[in-house]
Symmetry: C2
DNA sequence: CTATCTAAGATACTGGCCGTATCTTACGAA
DNA sequence: TTCGTAAGATACGGCCAGTATCTTAGATAG
């Protein structure tokens, strides 16, 4: 449990030891029951040392998660959109698995309470992935001639990431088959439908088949935005 | 703040008063800072009364959320798959908006820690929606002749719900436009692609276009399931 | 090697909240 | 009117957050 070393650690070394202890504490007692005192004892140090670095529990846990989540540097060119997309989702999966579903889910929850954290969290975890999707995977596919810019909408661009993230948040894992389903049953078919669309007449939906009396979208509900939540865009590309 | 009524309330009346107070307390101090003492005071009662009904904070909050979330009874027949799907997602959106993003997200987080809660939560909030999707919306579309059973996969069946849920968890809201994008840009096109597929040759993905050297799915990553999380299926249809 | 400065580590304290135990008292039922 | 049940008040032990204070290790400069 508590391991007070012979030598007094400092700076970087100490910090890493605390983050490791935090991680072990999460594994041992769980996220909700994690306490600063527990972490301090496990790290062989004391509370003030923790509070000198992180303002509270949430910050500590977030720092811990950040330190354990591998970064995605690039997506290798597999030669096809499909291959690249599978690769991207696989990396996303591996990143999130490295931290674990409980931490990720709880973090999303905790982070929702703190706009400040939320932005930092988003910046650290997500932006790179979305960039990779837009600027590497999709641009490459366009360059190859697999797709054209006109086939893409914002919604379609983030579709694979949205579905993979959702899979992980809800089920706690993403199987290889799930990745292939997302790409093969949803993403590529949805792109495929827009293959030869004229410039911007692309909007309306296809009739899947002879639809008898289609009086589309009659009723509207509440507007949805539960007021004062206009940092929605910031959250758009989470994880 | 505290409103101790002249008469001593009991049973149903008292319980509802406490749940109302819980809701007000969430609005007032936020989710994380909600305390049993605070709720008791606001409800004009005392802690033991709370603990006689709910074991802890999480149970109380969950009961509060359940009591405030309207149930979805049915999806009216709008005459088309598109209309029905929009209607279903709109109801889903309204249900979740009635409770609010912070509560939902935090609840998903808290619930992840407690397998028992998780199941109850899923049962109360989700099952009905998935049922409605499968047994009302899609069956009706098949009956109309808009689609055939062979076009459907499990993934496609829950696609709209997955995307809508994700939208809400991440951005905190679901705009009308988002619902239409989900249906028109993703769901219907993906279905459309499978329109005239032979029985089960449906699996492989479409080449979006002339793909040069497509050596598909070469590398595999970690298996994804972060061990011992085989209640994944239970979580599959969350919210 | 010594002086000095910084940060680690130990300890203690206030305050808040949890969860429970105990007692009194209002209300409903018979 | 009586009696049983549950509401409400109070109090308490315990844990933990977060801070203040003091001592001491060790890095660095001269």
């Amino acid at each position: 449990m508590s391991r007070t070393p012979a030598v007094r650690r400092r700076g970087e070394v100490l910090e890493q030891a605390i983050l490791d202890a935090t991680w072990e504490e999460i594994q041992a007692v769980g996220f909700t029951k994690l306490t600063m005192e527990g972490v301090a004892k496990r790290a062989g140090t004391s509370k003030p040392v923790l509070y000198r670095r992180w303002a509270d529990r949430t910050e500590l846990i977030m720092a811990c998660a950040v330190s354990r989540m591998p970064t995605v540097e690039s997506v290798p060119d597999t030669g096809s959109l499909r291959g690249d997309a599978v690769e991207l989702l696989t990396q996303l999966r591996d990143r999130m698995s490295a931290v674990g579903p409980i931490v990720i889910v709880t973090l999303v929850g905790e982070v929702t309470h703190y706009p400040t954290f939320r932005r930092e969290f988003l910046h650290k975890f997500i932006d790179r992935l979305v960039e990779l999707m837009n600027e590497t995977v999709l641009d490459r596919a366009v360059a190859r001639g697999e797709i054209t810019e006109s086939q893409l909408t914002d919604r379609l661009r983030r579709l694979p990431i949205d579905l993979a993230r959702n899979e992980f948040l809800i089920t706690g894992a993403i199987a290889d088959e799930a990745i292939e389903e997302i790409i093969d049953q949803v993403f590529l078919p949805a792109l495929h439908y827009r293959r030869n669309l004229p410039a911007e007449a692309a909007e309306p939906a296809p009739e899947p088949s002879p639809a008898p009396g289609d009086r589309r979208s009659e009723r509207r509900g509440v507007t949805g935005a539960t007021a004062g939540d206009r940092e929605a865009d910031a959250g758009r590309d989470l994880v």
